[in-house]
Symmetry: C2
DNA sequence: ACAAAAGTGTTCCGTGTACACCCATGA
DNA sequence: TCATGGGTGTACACGGAACACTTTTGT
């Protein structure tokens, strides 16, 4: 319902879009989800997943919906990155785009399924040329992602329920794109007390086998609530 | 110039606005700039400085221009906060707002001048009721501001050319809204090597007088470039 | 002489970081 | 037996945090 005196007197011709920078972790690599653009101009080129915002959805919900419709990925938690609002960033019309990013565990989803949508996972070091300012968005998002994981021990949603410490370390190494010292890494992570060790081992990647752990969700939530600062 | 195939087929009715969260430091207090809303609905109530984005300006330039037109404040560096895009945040129409914030030295500007624009500086602890989600924006901006100054020793633009260490400390105490230990503060700040001590004293606030310092712009820039982490 | 703000050093503790060897096992 | 990845401990350096007294000077 509109209020009586509700109509603003504005001659605005700005379209609002969202673009999604979706990182995926597949046990060994950090990947980025790209998409073959379906509309002119620039049709057929690689781009981020994005579209115009629908009138009846909040920006964040719109981003989720667009991601779902474009790739089949559902229930992805998206975080706002920032707004890209330069005048001529889109050769078509005046379009501003609100970047959103996320990091997901690729294996939780059907990795082939996205191909039906003309989407594809690219290794983070092998990203093709992207349209418009999308490459900027990706670079900004990587920086944000690193900042984020520095302040919140992630992992829950990126690793299977049971995982090994080497797995966890690989995850962080992928995000930071540099090797970490395993002794320090283990010491630090175990000191957080959010891991529960099981007596089972995973022997798929070594003969000795590595112990499986799982997250202690309660303690994890406590830690987040207290705003713990997780420097690696 | 538009490309031939440039018009997107979109029925979008979303207006794009910016709101500015302007913090000001006046040697003793952190203040917030507010503005009496001039358009219906909610006309006459206190709000942030904001308006719709013009078609021919980038978002950031639009924010600057709006700030200038609404308050007379010119050449203010604005930083994007985030987008407020919920469906019914504005009772008028569907409006999304991209929050921008800044921290300025109030004394560098004419403090009375803003009043001619129906704007006013409020002490950060005495903020009146604000329209829409503006209170949220302010809270988000304070958190951002604290995060920002934690990573970048500010001061340059907020203090006069010559200032005392107690002045500088007051600035940080205002931002963090808590007292700091003067011994630790001085030690930390001086160790950055970005201050140049003069042999003059300021005696306006004590009989003994406090030495005046100025910033060493070059070293300061070096420090920023290296991404120094300034925890207080 | 005293009030009021400026200025100064030390100690302790926690945490980041560097670093090298033994263990368990399947092949 | 050997190759492979898993797992462990120590020593040092640095920075944050707590803490109390002296100095200067106008009144």
């Amino acid at each position: 319902m509109k209020l009586l005196d509700s109509s603003y007197d504005v001659q605005q011709k700005i379209l609002v879009a969202v673009d999604c920078i979706i990182f995926g972790f597949d046990s060994n690599n950090l990947k980025l989800l790209l998409f073959k653009r379906k509309v002119a101009p620039l049709k057929g080129q690689w781009s981020l997943v994005g579209a115009f915002v629908k009138n009846d959805l909040s920006i964040n919900d719109a981003a989720k919906q667009i991601l779902f419709e474009s790739t089949g990925l559902k229930d992805i938690f998206l975080e706002e990155l920032k707004t890209y609002g330069d005048l001529n960033r889109d050769p078509g019309e005046r379009v501003i785009s609100i970047g959103h990013y996320s990091l997901i565990g690729i294996n939780d989803f059907d990795i082939e399924q996205v191909k039906e949508f003309d989407a594809e996972w690219f290794n983070i070091n092998e990203i093709p040329e992207l349209i418009l300012d999308h490459r900027n968005m990706v670079e900004d998002a990587i920086i944000e992602l690193r900042n984020k994981v520095r302040h919140q021990p992630i992992g829950f949603k990126l690793l299977p329920k049971y995982f090994t410490l080497p797995d966890l370390q690989t995850l962080y190494e992928c995000i930071y794109q540099r090797p970490l010292d395993s002794r320090n890494f283990r010491k630090k992570f175990l000191s957080l007390n959010i891991l529960i060790k099981t007596d089972k081992k995973d022997r798929t990647s070594s003969k000795k086998g590595a112990f499986l752990y799982r997250f202690d969700k309660e303690k994890f939530d406590d830690l987040i609530a207290k705003g713990y600062n997780f420097e690696i």
